[in-house]
């Protein structure tokens, strides 16, 4: 380039209007068409086309032109007019930063010149990563606010689409990049580098590298603070704002659709209020109908149920004593029958069986004949065949009441 730096800068100042317009064209169309370039230059009445190319501000692309990235970024920065970038673009820093960091860590004791160069590059990468994040948050915020105020009078439907797209494609992925707890995030990588450089800024044999680590460490503290702030803007301000735009737009779109044809659309069901008056022409008849039902009273009698005989409870103590007094009993079952007949006129089978349980008392000694002998005992209509069991006097018959009280 033959021109002096100052000449180029002066040229930029002098013809800033043209350059700003070219910038706007490229921002919108992606390229500056040959005819458009001519039109813009003609409008400003200075033929500066040759200088634009000579100073390498414009570069030809086929038949059209493009502002060189350096100048484009410069104007973009001056105007603070950034387009939100897809987080994929920012994500690439993860690779470059991680790669540089890996090389630094692996060759920490290698060539000092290369190490110094790498540390320098890492610092540059981190700085440009941060700048990109900041620009993106800012531009998203501007765009969102613009959407909220609806400067461009966008349709509500379009608003929903935009809000949803920003949330899904920009804000959530960007937040992931800034999420320090996410192991694959750039923020997490930066934290790792920060710990590493903290260690080496204090303990490394080469002084130059130590100074560089120190610089990197403080840069990272600053960057971390800033990233945290950006992340907060995203989650506390941007996300709620854009979520609200989305809900509001959905509801408004619904209402506008509804109002296009309010009488043809089904509306939500609302309970109908019904008033039922208790007074009417028929009240008298209704009431008398009810009372008539009570007019013809029929006497109702309740027959008292007969009391059931009290439940018989087997008095084991009483009968054990009786058995003991009558020992020896030659035929236990007929003794049972006899005893019951004495106590009650009518022997019931239930009582008989209850009494026979005495024979199974452990304290009683039973004797059976050498040959089994059977008796027949008649209780009411029932004839029982029972074995002949003799119960003998015992030297010590334990009173069953012992140990109960």
């Amino acid at each position: 380039m033959k021109a002096e730096p100052k000449t180029i800068l002066r040229f930029l100042v002098e013809h800033y209007d043209v350059i700003a317009e070219l910038f706007e064209t490229q921002k919108n169309d992606g390229i500056i068409a040959y005819e458009v370039l001519n039109q813009i230059i003609a409008k400003h009445e200075h033929d500066i086309k040759s200088q634009l190319i000579e100073y390498k501000i414009l570069s030809p692309v086929n038949d059209n032109y493009e502002i060189r990235t350096v100048y484009y970024n410069l104007v973009e920065f001056i105007l603070s007019e950034f387009k939100p970038m897809l987080p994929e673009t920012i994500e690439k820093y993860h690779t470059s930063v991680a790669e540089l960091f890996r090389k630094i860590r692996e060759n920490i004791n290698g060539d000092k010149v290369t190490l110094s160069q790498r540390l320098n590059d890492l610092a540059i990468e981190i700085r440009s990563f941060y700048e990109m994040v900041e620009r993106n948050t800012q531009s998203l915020l501007t765009e969102t606010r613009e959407l909220k105020a609806n400067v461009k009078k966008i349709d509500y439907r379009e608003k929903i689409v935009r809000a949803s797209r920003w949330i899904d494609e920009y804000i959530i992925p960007l937040n992931k990049i800034l999420d320090i707890n996410h192991s694959a995030s750039v923020a997490n990588k930066l934290y790792e580098i920060s710990e590493f450089s903290n260690k080496y800024r204090l303990n490394f044999d080469d002084e130059g590298a130590r100074v560089q680590f120190e610089k990197l460490y403080f840069q990272l503290i600053q960057v971390n603070d800033n990233l945290l702030r950006q992340s907060k803007i995203l989650t506390n301000e941007l996300l709620p704002l854009i979520e609200r735009i989305r809900t509001e737009s959905i509801i408004l779109t619904g209402w506008i659709t509804f109002m296009k044809n309010p009488y043809k659309r089904k509306v939500p069901k609302l309970l109908k209020r019904k008033e039922v008056s208790i007074y009417s022409n028929d009240t008298f008849y209704n009431a008398s109908e009810i009372f008539e039902q009570f007019k013809n009273e029929v006497d109702v009698y309740f027959e008292e149920e007969e009391h059931e005989s009290e439940k018989w409870i087997f008095d084991k103590i009483h009968y054990t004593k009786k058995l003991k007094d009558n020992l020896p009993v030659e035929n236990f079952f007929s003794w049972c029958n006899k005893t019951l007949k004495e106590d009650y006129k009518k022997v019931e089978i239930e009582k008989f069986f209850a009494l026979t349980t005495l024979a199974f008392d452990e304290d009683i000694e039973r004797e059976y004949g050498a040959k089994p002998q059977f008796d027949k005992i008649k209780i009411n209509d029932l004839t029982l065949t029972v074995p002949k069991v003799t119960i003998n006097q015992q030297p010590q018959l334990i009173d069953p009441t012992d140990g109960i009280s």
Partner: protein, 134 residues
């Protein structure tokens, strides 16, 4: 869930009963009222959802929005919304229906019941989108 033989629906913000016998005219007018108010608030640069949910309205403000609305044809064709007097009556109906709560002679706030209608509006969009997708 049922209550007094009506289906009772509970949401986080409001509860309501549904019946086959429904006051369709009233429901439609309420929808139109809230639709117009939301639209006008938004046009006025306000966060209509927040305003309806949290702040108090004065009848004068409502009158202003309705008389200057671009939906004037729709307003004039609606019996309950066509002029100041009918709108005043309509507000009293809303009050009886617990959709608003009067805080003074000419002032009121919306109850959570308004969300029932907001949900209806967002359902319109979902329903239409679903139809398009089919």
């Amino acid at each position: 869930m049922w209550s007094f033989n009506y289906e009772l629906r509970l949401t986080q913000d409001y509860a309501y009963v549904v019946s086959e016998e429904s006051a369709e005219m009233l429901s439609r007018d309420i929808c139109i009222f809230i639709a117009l108010l939301s639209y006008e608030l938004d046009r006025d640069g306000k966060n209509f959802l927040e305003r309806i949910q949290f702040s108090e309205f004065e009848m004068e403000e409502i009158e202003n929005y309705f008389t200057n609305s671009s939906y004037i044809d729709l307003i004039l064709s609606n019996k309950q919304l066509k002029d100041t007097d009918s709108r005043k009556n309509f507000i009293n109906t809303l009050n009886r229906r617990n959709i608003i709560e009067k805080t003074g002679d000419n002032r009121f706030v919306f109850t959570s019941a308004h969300k029932f209608f907001m949900d209806f509006a967002s359902d319109i969009v979902k329903y239409e989108n679903a139809e398009k997708d089919e």
